[in-house]
């Protein structure tokens, strides 16, 4: 019987026990050092981010507890939560209006671009002559800087005198419309959707191209219609991609500023970032009050983010 040969003779030898203890310590030390070696590379990025984003945030918190007006010579005083309390003032309906604009703008723009983007992706998800070229055309609006896109639409599409849309409308015999002033929200949202649909398109395209061909073929063999297949097989598979697109789109679209500034100058389309900027560094100078508002916006964002991060963690779960 060949058992392994273990030299038991030295087991009780104190030097042997020490050796074993040393080794165990050595392994623990190694594991600890390894832990630090793993953490070290991320520290620069982490520290940088905290210093540049979190520390200013603390300042904002501080400002929000004061009545600071940077244009006045009066000294800045602590007024604790008065700024927040003032929100219940009927006069502060502007805050609520701005919040409502933010919600509208974000939701419509995100859903709109998701819808359009999905449509574009479905059209693009096939082999045809010049597929690459058309795709190039379609992603360009996303690459264009928002300032240019906004100006472009404002002066060349929407404009009453020079706009192409109006030229079309007038040729058909109708009265021209100055879109940017008549329909400010719609104008801004149109440009947002125009710019962000390509982004959604790319995400959905990745999802479409990741489909399992065999499942689709099986469904066809089983006699499903095109719509049926889309509804029951493709769409459920697309869900994580759609959710991701929504999340990423929302992150950026909540903070829209450029388009508003350029297209309407704020008329009828003041969302929270725009409005708060106006009240503070944009000339309002009421740093204290505006800080309180932005804290509220941050709190709301955190709540939304938690929902979003739960979606994200589902996606990350699949990864691990």
């Amino acid at each position: 019987m060949t058992d392994t040969v273990v030299d038991d003779s030295g087991l009780d030898d104190p030097s042997f026990v020490d050796e074993a203890k040393q080794r165990a310590e050595g392994v623990k030390a190694l594991a600890r050092r390894e832990g630090w070696k793993r953490r070290l590379p991320i520290l620069p990025a982490l520290i940088f981010t905290i210093v540049v984003t979190q520390i200013p945030f603390l300042f904002t918190l501080f400002y929000s507890l004061t009545d600071w007006d940077i244009s006045s010579i009066d000294p800045r005083e602590f007024i604790w939560f008065d700024n927040y309390a003032s929100l219940s003032n009927p006069g502060e309906k502007f805050f609520r209006e701005a919040a409502w604009v933010s919600v509208q703008m974000t939701v419509i723009a995100v859903l709109g671009s998701l819808f359009v983007g999905t449509g574009l992706a479905v059209l693009l998800d096939r082999k045809f002559l010049g597929q690459g070229f058309v795709r190039t055309l379609l992603i360009t609006p996303f690459l264009v800087m928002p300032v240019v896109a906004s100006l472009l639409w404002k002066t060349q599409m929407f404009n009453k005198t020079f706009g192409v849309l109006n030229w079309l409308i007038e040729s058909l015999g109708f009265e021209g419309i100055e879109f940017a002033s008549r329909f400010p929200m719609a104008s801004v949202i149109t440009v947002l959707i125009w710019q962000w649909s390509p982004f959604m398109m790319l995400i959905v395209l990745a999802g479409l191209q990741g489909q399992d061909t065999s499942t689709l073929e099986a469904a066809r063999v089983d006699g499903a219609t095109t719509f049926g297949i889309f509804r029951q097989i493709t769409f459920p598979q697309l869900r994580p991609y759609l959710e991701l697109g929504t999340l990423l789109g929302a992150i950026y679209l909540i903070q829209v500023y450029d388009h508003i500034e350029v297209i309407t100058g704020g008329v009828g389309t003041k969302n929270l970032p725009f409005w708060i900027a106006q009240r503070s560094i944009g000339g309002g100078n009421l740093f204290g009050l505006a800080s309180a508002y932005s804290i509220l916006v941050v709190i709301a964002s955190i709540i939304i983010a938690n929902v979003g991060l739960r979606v994200l963690s589902n996606l990350l779960e699949d990864d691990s």
């Binding site: 832990g35 793993r38 953490r39 070290l40 991320i42 620069p44 990025a45 982490l46 981010t49 540049v52 979190q54 200013p56 945030f57 904002t60 059209l123 998800d125 096939r126 082999k127 045809f128 795709r135 055309l137 379609l138 992603i139 609006p141 800087m145 240019v148 100006l151 472009l152 002066t155 060349q156 192409v164 030229w167 125009w194 790319l202 995400i203 990745a206 999802g207 479409l208 191209q209 990741g210 095109t226 297949i229 493709t234 990423l248 992150i251 909540i254 903070q255 500023y257 450029d258 929270l272 970032p273 503070s280 560094i281 932005s294 916006v297 964002s301 955190i302 991060l309 963690s313 990864d319």
Partner: protein
């Protein structure tokens, strides 16, 4: 999913599209797609055309055919006294974007390594933290940034934009790079360790060749977002080191009157990023999809 995401996103569309089994339907759909594509692109096409027109032509009835001229371009690029000139704005944008992107990569690559290849214990939480900073609305910190900038004398300098753009793009870069690094098979790195490679050796000889396309895609996205950024540039910087978006916006006073001139300015402003995006399209799509989905 058996195939890697990289493979999935970059190979040609599969033969079984959703719509149109029928040859006629397929042909019609192809035409429809072309029409949609052209219509979608039309505003940009119009912009490009207008840039080459005489002002009078541009402000008249829309014309597709005309005599092109380069005069508008020279109009917008000539030095306009003490307002921001094109050359200045371009140089400002160029340096700010270049340096901030380099900083982003320098910070994000090790971070991605720490999150993907030798993951630290709480890597998911750290990744969440980075992503959550993107949820922080910029208004939440613009005021302190303004004050700090003012007190440090950084308003109107390139420096403050470089720092802020780095912070702005860092979460995106960390997220995307992490997913690219995660694609490197663990055994490959283990094999290189057994073969005697030091840490730098592993990174340089094994990891970098595999993630290089991903690095390029990430850098490109950072360049795009930084180049196009307007809010911070105009709030913190317009007085001194204005960037291209600020310059383009300043041309706005010519709206209505000088459409062609504005168009020429716009073309100059978007030209670099659009061309870069076109050229690196496939890489970027791969990068966006991968970074986004994983």
């Amino acid at each position: 999913m058996a195939r890697s995401l990289m493979e999935r996103v970059t190979r040609a569309p599969k033969a079984e599209p959703i719509l149109g089994q029928n040859r006629v339907v397929a042909r019609l759909l192809a035409i429809l797609t072309w029409v949609v594509g052209l219509l979608y692109f039309f505003p940009l096409l119009w912009l490009v055309l207008n840039g080459f027109k005489e002002e009078s032509v541009a402000s008249g009835d829309p014309k597709l055919f005309f005599e092109p001229t380069l005069d508008r371009f020279s109009d917008v690029t000539e030095d306009a006294g003490n307002t921001l000139s094109f050359t200045d704005a371009f140089m400002n944008s160029f340096w700010v974007v270049l340096i901030s992107t380099v900083f982003v990569m320098i910070l994000a690559v090790p971070a991605a390594y720490a999150l993907a290849i030798r993951p630290m214990r709480m890597w998911r939480d750290v990744l969440f933290f980075f992503i959550s900073t993107k949820f922080l609305p910029i208004v939440g910190i613009i005021m302190p940034l303004y004050i700090i900038g003012r007190d440090l004398g950084l308003l109107g300098t390139r420096t403050i934009l470089i720092v802020l753009y780095t912070a702005m793009n860092l979460p995106l870069a960390v997220w995307m790079l992490r997913s690219f690094f995660a694609e490197v098979p663990k055994e490959l790195i283990e094999a290189s360790q057994i073969d005697g490679a030091s840490l730098m050796g592993q990174i340089r000889q094994v990891i970098l060749p595999i993630v290089a396309p991903g690095l390029a895609a990430t850098a490109l996205l950072c360049v795009i977002f930084a180049w196009n950024e307007f809010f911070l540039a105009v709030q913190l910087n317009s007085a001194g080191a204005g960037t291209i978006p600020v310059w383009v916006n300043a041309q706005q006073q010519f709206q209505g009157q000088f459409i062609a001139q504005f168009s020429a300015a716009s073309i100059l402003a978007i030209f670099p990023v659009v061309i870069a995006g076109w050229v690196a399209q496939k890489r970027m799509i791969r990068g966006l999809a991968m970074g986004a989905i994983k």
